[in-house]
């Protein structure tokens, strides 16, 4: 049930772009994205809902392919502050819990 994230880790130079992928074996109602900086709690970035509604961050975009049960997070013109571990969480339906992937560690260097 745990979604699969890829890549596991990526290193970028400032200004470069990155894509983080999340896939599930189950039909999804929504996908969540969170970022966790070292020593801090995860912070909400974005929700993508079945049907295309999207709520979240100004500088980060994402897509949700319901048929393929996949989501991708797009980080453009990366900044040093983007460094951290990105988690996707998938929600199926009803009273099932949100389940997180293992995370993608992103490091942005000057």
């Amino acid at each position: 049930q745990q979604p699969v994230q890829s890549p596991q880790a990526v290193i970028l130079r400032e200004g470069e772009d990155a894509v983080i992928n999340c896939s599930s074996s189950k039909a999804l109602y929504s996908v969540h994205w969170y970022r966790q900086k070292h020593g801090e709690a995860p912070v909400f970035l974005m929700i993508l809902l079945k049907g295309g509604e999207q709520k979240g961050h100004e500088k980060i975009s994402a897509s949700f392919n319901e048929k393929k049960q996949q989501s991708s997070l797009y980080l453009t013109a990366s900044q040093l502050s983007y460094s951290g571990t990105y988690f996707c969480g998938t929600y199926v339906s009803g009273n099932t819990p949100l389940v997180f992937g293992k995370g993608t560690r992103l490091s942005v260097i000057a």
């Binding site: 109602y29 969540h32 099932t96 949100l98 997180f100």
Partner: protein, 113 residues
């Protein structure tokens, strides 16, 4: 308060002792989750409360772990007869509904000697 709070922030205990970790959710949030995060690892789901429904305990690693949520508000995670492998950061998160964005507390760092 405005956010999710957890106490204590740090707990050091001896192997075999019981510990209780507390989570105070954002007022009105009906969904409450407990996660465990070992050093450098992901968010391991432990247990989930949603309103008055029976909790989803499918993530609890053993019967030494239990949790309750009183009056739909404060939650306590109890670990009995702690083991060294229980050492981790325990995070609580709450949401207005199960599918809404989650707000995480700062976590409790548990160290079992």
């Amino acid at each position: 308060g405005a956010g999710v709070s957890q106490s204590p922030s740090n707990k050091v205990t001896e192997k075999g002792k019981d510990v209780e970790l507390r989570c105070d959710p954002i007022s009105g949030h009906t969904a409450l989750y407990w996660y465990r995060q070992s050093l450098g690892q992901g968010l391991e789901f432990l247990i989930y409360f949603q309103g008055n429904s029976a909790p989803d305990k499918s993530g609890l690693p053993s019967d030494r772990f239990s949790a309750e949520r009183t009056g739909g508000s404060v939650s306590t995670l109890t670990i009995q007869r702690t083991q060294q492998e229980d050492s981790a950061v325990y995070l609580c998160a709450t949401a207005g509904a199960s599918y809404n964005e989650q707000f995480f507390g700062p976590g409790t760092r548990l160290t079992v000697l």
